[in-house]
Symmetry: C2
Subunit: 257 residues, 2 copies
């Protein structure tokens, strides 16, 4: 288990926080692994010489971070738990909630990471995996007829990229690409960037993704990288236009600032 969350500051830590840190360290020292049971509440109360409530708050802290899980009943208790990807995504998402990431910010990351992902996967995927990618593409083979369909297709298209990321054995790359796609989905949906169908974006997306799957199949790493690089640039450009148009349409008073 990783080191304590807040070791640097010299400020007085609350007792539950101290206990949480102590438990963390305790788990590390003993090399306890996911699935292993921590001592029961009663034992911890004795071990730390603190009241039940304090111990419980400490356990809640670890639980909120996704590091432990507790179950009631006989054989129950507090168990070491591997932080799930969903939990990690949510926790990191909190950090960027106030940050106001722009379309440009997100695409700068996508333009760097996704071509690299494609290049590293070329020639490494089996028929089953390639078929799965084509199956996702099929879900938006027809252009959207209204805003609702447009939104669904947009999400599905991001799923294509998430699925591709899933196929990498680099867990960090996998996480970062999926996280960025998630944030992009949040931004575009919350800012209604998909209010009107954008036929050009749809058509170019389909074309790029088909070419990409072909390149992945025949193991052409350089082509895969290049295709995804162009795909990202194109999508970036169209998204910014969309954003600009929307800004102009709904917030004309911004001109006078």
């Amino acid at each position: 288990m990783p080191p304590a969350t807040t070791p640097s500051r010299t400020e007085r830590l609350s007792r539950p926080q101290q206990v949480a840190d102590a438990i963390k360290q305790w788990v590390m020292e003993n090399g306890w692994q996911p699935g292993d049971r921590l001592p029961s509440e009663t034992e911890m109360i004795a071990r730390f010489g603190m009241a039940k409530g304090t111990i419980r708050e400490a356990v809640r802290i670890l639980e909120a971070q996704g590091l432990v899980k507790s179950r009631t009943g006989p054989g129950g208790g507090v168990f070491v738990h591997q932080v799930s990807e969903e939990r990690a995504t949510a926790l990191l998402g909190n950090y960027f909630y106030f940050a106001q990431l722009s379309i440009d910010d997100l695409y700068q990351i996508r333009e760097a990471l996704e071509p690299e992902l494609a290049a590293s996967l070329a020639g490494k995927l089996d028929d089953h995996q390639l078929a799965a990618l084509e199956a996702v593409m099929a879900s938006y083979a027809e252009p959207a007829r209204d805003a609702e369909e447009e939104r669904e297709q947009h999400i599905a298209s991001l799923r294509f990229h998430a699925l591709l990321a899933e196929m990498s054995d680099n867990r960090l790359l996998r996480f970062l690409i999926k996280f960025t796609a998630n944030m992009l989905a949040d931004v575009t949906v919350s800012r209604r960037l998909y209010a009107q169908p954008n036929r050009e974006l749809w058509a170019s997306g389909i074309a790029y993704q088909s070419r990409l799957v072909a390149a992945l199949r025949c193991g052409d790493s350089a082509a895969a990288r290049q295709i995804l690089r162009e795909h990202m640039r194109g999508a970036h450009r169209l998204m910014c236009l969309q954003e600009a148009e929307l800004t102009q349409r709904f917030l004309p008073e911004i001109d006078i600032l």
Copy 2:
């Protein structure tokens, strides 16, 4: 404030978790911002009809995620708080604690992101910022004489990259590069990859960084990208050699597997 951390599952949530989610939503609905005070414990007890301990556990959950902070005394209370970068780093670090990221994983990310960062900063830095970079470089102008110095220089060199990242106005890029560098520092230190001074790595690092600062100064974006790309490739190669050598030295029995 971002949506509840665990909305998807249909499993029964603990009451503190429910309360925490409710508070989150409450904050979002009212558009409360960092610094704003939440209702007092007493009010929440009345509002949710629950015991004090339950409310406190809920607040602890939010506090563990870095979303609120509480202070005692008059004028005290629970306050909405912007998740700090340190907290976000620690929380995401938890996710990768069990994941066993390899040197290759980390450098695949660095090779994709750092050249992009360099390119985007070329010509945008003022004299003060360029001087700051050179100051960090000066801290390892002389080759290390022992393992301890080698470790220090290694950390300082990662600080160079963190400082560079700090100069980007893309908060996501900034965070990802610093996070990756942090994880790399953890891995190399914990696995003693810097036990013996590596003169070649030191010399090439210095050379690349000098050239980089020059390219940044004269605004040559393409050159900056290319230099950092080569720098990362070189460092990656040398780190892997170091890793291989160390594996061979300390774990010879791995051959028989």
